[in-house]
């Protein structure tokens, strides 16, 4: 295998000798990244592989050569190189830039563009700039419809890794215009759901969405976007949206799922970094690492957008006083939280509040519907995706899943209330539960179910639990009884609170 590679690169060297030496000097980082593979082949091989990749990259950049007999074979070889590199180590931001342009500019055929897009896996980050350029090509529209769909799905899957999200947000209008296309519509809705900020909600957009809904009927992705709009600016939407409707986008991560997990694991430090902010102590958070050890719950990252509360017109106070919102990365102590509590902006990825006790405090005080809605949406998506008894192959990630469940339970305990998404997840996965996997976490989730009627709970919860109860060991029976006792305690405590307090738990989910 290695001998063959050498022969190929020898052939390559003869054809493109001049540029090769430049490339080796330019990008020395590749040899390091290949060293990480831990193969036993000598270093020479790495350079050859690195050369092959560089050559492949340049080939794609230059565009198709017109009349070459063996065009198909060379193309296939280059594609294979790119794919191998991408899936092994991921691509650097500059390379993603080049390949994105290549894929979306329509120079090559549809099949090649699809393969390129499918192997666009970042090593660390994706720069917002390359996304901007890609969207520009997207507008030009030289690529085929299916390529466009794949590109949008790729954006949704890689959303967490995009740097400088404000640049992507400034292209909101372009994305919005693509809602017309029936094929693209659900994926664009998902992207917009992730991208929307309060400032993006404008009356003409709301009208457009309502028109689309009238034309296409009740589609759950349109409804999801409308409900998000409604909670940012409730006054603009008068249409009533059904309560307790689970907002569900088809998960489009499936193509890149295993690779994403690898990327997240690659980027974590050698020792697990716990981001639980201790009250009272200012912990220096390492800025370079962007992902927690659990790799499912993201780090709180403040979106650097404008202010949170939009005003119709600027007032003198705005001009005179400094009303900038407080960036979350600097939030280390309770004292800081108190000082800036009126202008704190919540992170893009709501899941990151689960690990931070300060942010949990904030959420507890704010009682804003949109905040809770976003958190519940993130929870329901994540639980759906990470639940290990749905995915046969992912049983190795059992530990991650138990850690995630632990964090959720801690957050619920902290806030002393249950999350509706967890409840829905429980009802959905209880029939499939075998009674042993993540048992203590599952039973704790049972004890945090919010208060509701027995007649509602009986078919959803108690019948399935009865199935497990009567056919399990004594230990399980006792654990279940214990968690039911805790459930009762929680309900009693909740009900014994002051009745005058307004029931804010009727969140529309």
């Amino acid at each position: 295998m290695s001998a063959r590679k050498r022969v190929n690169s020898q052939a390559q060297r003869r054809t493109s000798r001049g540029s090769l030496s430049d490339q080796i000097k330019e990008k020395p980082s590749y040899s390091e990244s290949f060293l990480k593979r831990g193969q036993n082949s000598p270093e020479e091989d790495y350079e050859h592989a690195e050369d092959t990749f560089q050559i492949a990259l340049r080939y794609f950049e230059k565009g198709p050569i017109q009349t070459l007999q063996s065009k198909g074979k060379i193309m296939e070889k280059h594609l294979k190189t790119v794919e191998i590199v991408a899936w092994k180590n991921g691509l650097a931001p500059e390379e993603i830039d080049i390949l994105l342009n290549v894929a979306l500019s329509g120079k090559f055929g549809n099949a090649i563009n699809t393969r390129i897009l499918k192997s666009l896996i970042p090593a660390t980050l994706i720069s917002g700039d390359s996304v901007v350029k890609a969207v520009s090509w997207f507008c030009v529209g030289k690529c085929s419809g299916s390529t466009k769909v794949l590109f949008v799905r790729w954006l949704v899957a890689m959303f967490d890794f995009i740097n400088e999200k404000d640049k992507v947000n400034s292209l909101y209008g372009f994305f919005f215009a693509s809602l017309q296309d029936d094929v693209l519509c659900p994926y664009i809705c998902h992207l917009l759901y992730l991208l929307t900020k309060k400032e993006n909600v404008k009356p003409f957009r709301v009208r457009k969405l309502l028109d689309l809904q009238a034309k296409m009927g009740m589609q759950c992705h349109l409804q999801a976007l409308l409900s998000l709009y409604k909670f940012f600016v409730p006054t603009l939407i008068s249409v009533s949206l059904p309560v307790r409707k689970k907002i569900y986008f088809k998960s489009s991560e499936n193509l890149w799922r295993t690779a994403l997990i690898a990327v997240r694991q690659r980027n974590m430090g050698p020792s697990p970094i716990s981001l639980k902010l201790m009250l009272g102590s200012a912990k220096v958070r390492p800025v370079k690492r962007k992902w927690t050890s659990n790799s499912i719950i993201p780090v709180p990252n403040s979106s650097s957008y404008g202010r949170e509360y939009g005003k119709k017109q600027m007032s003198l106070s705005d001009c005179l006083s400094n009303n900038g919102s407080f960036p979350l990365e600097q939030l280390h102590s309770f004292h800081q939280l108190l000082e800036n509590i009126h202008c704190l902006e919540l992170p893009c990825q709501m899941g990151s509040v689960l690990n931070s006790s300060l942010l949990l405090h904030y959420i507890n005080c704010v009682r804003d519907e949109s905040v809770l809605l976003r958190l519940y949406h993130w929870l329901s998506q994540t639980l759906q995706e990470e639940c290990i008894w749905y995915k046969v192959n992912n049983y190795e990630y059992g530990k991650e899943f138990t850690n995630l469940l632990d964090s959720i339970i801690r957050a619920q305990c902290f806030l002393q209330e249950g999350f509706y998404s967890c409840e829905a997840f429980l009802y959905k996965s209880l029939p499939l539960w075998d009674g042993l996997c993540c048992r203590s976490q599952f039973l704790q989730l049972v004890s945090w179910i919010p208060f509701s009627n027995f007649s509602e709970l009986k078919p959803l919860l108690f019948d399935h639990l009865a199935h497990l109860f009567f056919t399990s060991t004594i230990f399980f029976k006792c654990s279940l009884l214990q968690s039911l006792k805790e459930l009762l305690q929680n309900w009693l405590l909740w009900l014994s609170m002051d009745i005058h307090m307004k029931p804010v738990l009727k969140s529309p989910l």
Partner: protein, 235 residues
């Protein structure tokens, strides 16, 4: 199509009754088999009784049948519980009578039975103290939660509202200064400009989209495009 039955070796025993009692005492095995046989006999008897009953003449509705079944099940449950309690009481009486008889016959100092009983008593004491401790701790925890929960929810919310109203008051004070005419005129002009620019923003966006031009290639154009979404009222 059936596969040959796979016989098990439960607990490493071969075949049916073990001659050498490996893990199970001979006596225990006999008692267990007795209980088994009793249960199986009960099942057969109940089937025989059920088959002897006549089916009722009228056809009952399914709902009625279900309701009746539920009622009967409840009755059975109650009867079973009562039976189990009575059995338990009877067993206890028998046990204590047997113990009493046994104790009268043996030497109280060296017997194995006395040692067992002492051990049981010790364990019971231990269990009771642990249970008491855990109940006390649970009580304390519940008290703390009872105190904390309303504080957590109501107090924090009201505090935040207070902070926000304070800030708003400050803003209102500033706003009151705005009523001078000059500022009003300035503001009107500003508004008009903002509106015009917003319209231009949107028109330009749509123009670009319609023209299918690659705006990222021109750096100046790209810079302009990235500004198009900016909400001008914020600056």
């Amino acid at each position: 199509m059936e596969k040959q039955p796979t016989d098990s070796e439960g607990e490493g025993e071969e075949g049916g009754q073990p001659q050498e009692a490996n893990k199970e005492d001979h006596m225990t095995l006999l008692l267990r088999l007795r209980a088994q046989t009793k249960q199986q006999l009960l099942e057969y008897k109940s089937m025989v009784d059920a088959n002897e009953e006549k089916t009722p003449e009228q056809i009952m509705q399914e709902e009625q049948i279900k309701a009746k079944i539920e009622g009967l099940e409840n009755e059975v449950e109650e009867a079973k519980t009562a039976f189990e309690m009575k059995n338990l009481a009877l067993d206890r009486m028998q046990l204590s009578a047997a113990l009493k008889n046994n104790l009268e016959k043996i030497d109280t100092k060296t017997s194995l039975l006395m040692d067992d009983m002492k051990h049981v008593l010790e364990l019971n004491k231990l269990i009771m103290t642990s249970q008491q401790e855990s109940w006390d701790l649970e009580e304390k925890l519940l008290d703390i939660r009872k105190k904390r929960l309303p504080e957590l929810k109501q107090a924090s919310e009201s505090k935040l509202l207070e902070i926000q109203t304070e800030k708003n008051k400050q803003k209102d004070d500033l706003d009151n200064m705005e009523n001078s005419d000059k500022i009003k005129a300035i503001r009107q002009n500003l508004q008009r400009e903002i509106q015009i620019t917003t319209v231009i923003q949107n028109v330009f966006q749509n123009l670009l989209l319609g023209s299918k031009a690659n705006w990222a290639e021109n750096p100046a154009l790209k810079k302009t495009v990235l500004q198009l979404e900016k909400n001008l009222t914020m600056i």
